[in-house]
Symmetry: C2
Subunit: 123 residues, 2 copies
DNA sequence: CGGATGAGATTACACCTGTAATCGCAAGAG
DNA sequence: CTCTTGCGATTACAGGTGTAATCTCATCCG
């Protein structure tokens, strides 16, 4: 990634990442979370910015473009995670974990999943 | 909190939270992470903004102010955590955990700490 | 008492963000 | 071949942010 993605840009990228295929601006506008009541114009602006950041790739399809992600989701998530855990929890995951546990943001399913992961790591 | 804190504002708040006592603007400027090469003026600006957000409390001390946090760190961290985990991991902690594990951002110590926490939760 | 000092308040300013309207052009409709 | 329409590109604009200089007092030094 050349630059960080803004919140709104993330929403657009999420659409592209989950689509699994190139989409037109209109497609994207339709799939963006409904809570963002964006007009098509807004989506197009965001696409321009994402193009400038080289986060999406335009593929000419006749008179218009099909957009697809130029960067994978994983590295972006990794970046944000590092930033976040670094800033709030001194870079360590365990304090975050402790915090979430206290907040009761963990349910049975999470706990089980994490236990399994831990076993994996231990091997 | 009335509003979200910006990155720079967090740095100021961290100083205040960890100081455990009211500080003057100058004190704060001295304790801010050195990587931020801020002038005193910058710190004062940030303090103004934090006052506007009611995140810090000014206590008149003769001719100047001693600043102390008006909000606790925990709720702020909780807010940011919710935002972060919600946005990137669908609100679930286990995918974040899986991600960090893959990134090898976990060392022995973290793993042990988390195991202990899990046992606590299980009880 | 008068000037220097130092504190907060005010102002500055460029860049980023969210949100959009408008422009200019190319393609399809007739 | 012309008119409409749908697209990307350009422009807009207010509010947030990082970073700071300047202004305005009150006070301490002499």
């Amino acid at each position: 990634m050349e630059k960080r993605l803004s919140d709104a840009e993330w929403d657009v990228m999420e659409v592209l990442w989950s689509a699994g295929q190139p989409l037109t601006a209109t497609d994207i506008a339709e799939r963006v979370p409904a809570t963002r009541e964006w007009t098509l114009a807004t989506v197009k602006s965001l696409l321009s910015r994402l193009l400038a950041k080289r986060a999406v790739k335009p593929n000419k399809d006749g008179r218009r473009f099909l957009y697809s992600p130029a960067i994978a989701r994983e590295p972006c998530v990794a970046d944000e995670s590092r930033r976040f855990v670094g800033r709030l929890f001194g870079g360590r995951l365990s304090p975050l974990f402790a915090h979430m546990a206290e907040e009761e943001a963990l349910d049975e399913e999470d706990i089980a999943a994490i236990e399994t992961l831990l076993k994996e790591l231990r091997k």
